[in-house]
Structure formats: structure tokens, C-alpha cells
Amino acid sequence: MRRGRRRQVGRLDREALAGVLVREVVNFSSYWRSTTFSSTVEPTIYLLAFGFGFGSIVSTVAGLNYVEFVGTGTVATAVLFSSVFPAMFGTFVKYKFQRTYDAILAAPVDTEELVTGEALWMAARAGTYGCVPLLVAMVFGLDPSPGMLTVPLIAFLTGLGWSAFGILIAAVMNSIENFNYVTSIVITPLFLVAGTYFPISGLPEWAQVAAQFNPLYHCVQLVRGAVFGFEGWVDVYHLAVIVGFGLVAWRAAINRMQRKLID
């Protein structure tokens, strides 16, 4: 007699999510070196380049030592790079070329669980890699503070939104070449106008208003709050924008992936 288990299956099953995550974790064991290398070295280079480059001209920005300013800001860069790009390219390759998602959806896993599992995994990675710039900045004189312990969580939440956003882009685009448009029009501006390398207060007013809609800006502000002391409601506002962005991107990614994967 074959196994006749008939278990209750519902939405966002823990077991389905576990299946998707286990696949990613096992795969990670075969490529973690290169990913960890690029995810740590890239933001470190940014940090050193800006820190020493600008740091020689400006000593303090917004009341902070410039290395401290950039060191905390680069957390957002690290989060962005380690979530949105793997999400865009990885998702596209997995459904289009490797047909991994065909195999997963033939198992008792729905699109909602697939997208959620993938986003959680990339967010966990972003949460980890996001802390690297902080560690590097500490080598260059950033003082440790207890609030820093919340940085992995902030990085995780921000990473969740950007991972979902990347999956959404992969679902909407028909070819990997089109990703260039998204990178140029969306990601690069958001990355630069986030208050990472220079404060947005020096920008024209319209750009300052635009920055309020940039989840990355809120991540930068919240990380600075965590490191140098939270300021109350304004940090709740930053957190709310990050969470809101994540929720919208998550549902949109599920919706568009569903359309792409289920005929």
C-alpha cells in the first residue's frame, strides 16, 4: 500500500515555504563564496572610495564624521545590491532558462509560496550582507552602539521589499536585456538619491520630495537612527514606508508571477 497521507494544505504552508527555502540553502552551498565575495567587497569599495575620496575634502556631514555618514549609508547600498539584482536575474534565469519553477510548481507549492520563499531567502541574505559596511566602518573608527543590533532587521525588511521588487521586474520583463532600463531609470537614481553619500538636504526641493518615496532613503535614515540614536516618530515613519513598500512589492510580485507561470 502506497502512502495515503492526506494532509491539510492551505495558503502559505509552512512546509511549502520550507521546501523553497531548503532548495535555496542547498544551492547556496555551491556558490556562497562568490556571492559573499561580491556582496562584501562591492560596498566596501564604495565605502572606501567615498570615505577617503570625499572624506579628504569634507570632514563632517550632517553633524557626522564623513566615514560614519557613509559607513551607515552604505548599509542600504549593500542591501539593495544583494537583493534586487539576484532577484531580477536569478528569478528570470530560474523560470526561463533552468525551468526550476516548473519543477517547483508541479510539487505542492503555489506561486504565492514560491515568491514568498524566494523573497524571504534573498532578504535573509541582504540582512546579513547589509551589516558588512557597518563592520568595515567600525574598523575605520565607527563606535559600536547597542542600536546597531537592530540593523540586521532593518536590512532584512528593506531586502524583502527589494527582492520582491526584483521578482516583479523579472515577471514583467520578457527579456533579460530589458533589465538595463530598470537599472538605469529606477535603481541607479534611487541608489544615488538616498542620502547615502551626500545628504539630500543639499538637493533641490523636488528631489527632496522625491526622496520621500524612495524606500532606500528610509532605510538609510533608519540605519543612522539605529546607530546614532533613534529619534522617535520619524523613525516609525521610516519603518512604515519600508514595510509598506515591501507589502506592495510582495503582492505585486505574486500577482505578476502567477500570470507568468500559470497559463
Binding site: V9, E15, Q98, R99, D102, A107, I262, D263
Partner: protein
Amino acid sequence: MLEPPTAIRLRNVVKRYGPVTAVAGLDLDLPTGTCVGLLGPNGAGKSTTMKLLTAQAVADEGSLEVLGHILPRDSKPARAEMGVVPQLDNLDTTLTVEQNLLVFAYLYRVPKRERHAAIERALDIANLRERRGAKVDELSGGMRRRLLIARALVHEPRLLLLDEPTVGLDPQVRQELWALIDRLRSEGVSILMSTHYIEEAQRLADTVTVMAKGRAVAVGRPGDLVLEHAGQEALEVYGPPARLREVEADARGRGWATRRTGTSVTILRAERLDGDAPHGERRPANLEDVFVLLTGEEVA
């Protein structure tokens, strides 16, 4: 638990892609514990039918029931109880044989205490115990295909969907896989297998559904279908193209069924021919004759 008498039951299923109707009113039954071959040329709707069964496509009309579950509503519990071998290899190529099986043991919710045994059993099915640590990239085509099948069996499904299981493989590898599939059927697994290899259907399938243009155009045991549609014997007449055209015209005039087989004209139901039939080679009629007759397609 009571096994439903039919593992798969489709009624009047229609699936359209824009102006194209891929499945056009398909009825299909897979009695529990049997192997049904879905035979048809490319574009007949076999792959779409497979996708409908895992709810990776949703039908526009008709009813689908898999292992007693109504699709697409209850597709998830249905998917938990079936295994799927896709036409295109989608193994994780940078992982080892064992890691691929481990991942699917999780995806198919094999309980923790059974996981190890399930992976060992799958390694035996694939006959890859010695290569368990090898990356998929390092395996031969036949090994990869065996792993793909074993991966679909890691949770001991009651139903197995095989989409063109031996396409593009060497003859000896193909025969090896046939032995494997036959063994699974003898163990009581219900199997739906799409193929465009006639011999595969003839050897493995208890019943064959011939599909053309999204419909089932004939259903039955391979032997019965041959007898019903092509008779007992076929007469192959060889010759230059002009001669073949002449034979065809002559046969048509006499009301004999014929088919073109590239280098020859085949006259079907040759057992009924009288003495003045053209000179040629007689052979037993086969499923290929039925296939070509019903689908109007040549077999490669």
C-alpha cells in the same frame, strides 16, 4: 483509504491560448494502476494536457479530476500525491545527485524520519547509488533522465506523469528506461505517459489515447487499435516516386486505404487484397499505421 477507480478523469476539457485551441474537448480516463499512453504528433495538445493536470495551466472549459481531487481548486493535494517527469530536464545542475533528491524530499513533504530512506530508495531506482556525490553536470544523458524520474518518485506517488520520457536518448538508454517504467507499473503506480514514439506506447501502455488537434481521436488497447484501424497486414510497395504515385492512384480507385511512408506506399488491410495487388513486402500492421492514418502525420 479508498483508492478512486480512476486516477485521472477528464471530461470535455478545452484550453485556448488566444486564437489557438490547444486542447479542444478532450476526454481522458486513467484507470488506477494502469499505464495510459498519450500518443500524438507535436502540437496535438499532449504537453498542454500535462500542464492542466498539475494546474500549471487552467482549463477554459470542462472538468478535471485527479486522484479524486477536483482541479484546479484542489490541485495542491493532488500534486502532493503525484510525481511529474518533465520533458525538459530541470534538475539543479550545480547540485549533486543526492542534493537534488533531498530538495525534492522537502518540496514533496516527505516526513523527517522517512527522508533518509526515501532518498536511498530513489538512488536505487535511478541506479545512481555510486554517483550520489556527483554533480548533475557530470552525469550522462541517460543518468540525468533516470535521476529526473527518481526525483519524481521520492515521495512514493500513486500517480506518475511522464512527458516524453525518452525523447532524445540512445536506443539502449531508452530500453533501460522502459524497463524502469514497466517495473513501476507492475508495482501499482498509475502512469500517464505522453510520447510520440510509437514503439514506446506499444510496449508500455495498457491503453493508448491517440490525440490529434487537441482531441482524442481513438482510445483502446494498442493491439485492438491496430486491428480496428489498420487491419492485420500491411503491404509495402517500393519504387521511384512516379511508380508510387501510380500505386496510390490505383489503390484509391479500388478503395484501399493507403499511407505514404517516405520511400514506399503502404496499403493497409493487405490481408483482404485479392491476387492482383501490386508486388511488395507484407508485414504485420502496427500502431504507427494507426497513428498516421488517424493523425495524418508522418512519423520521423
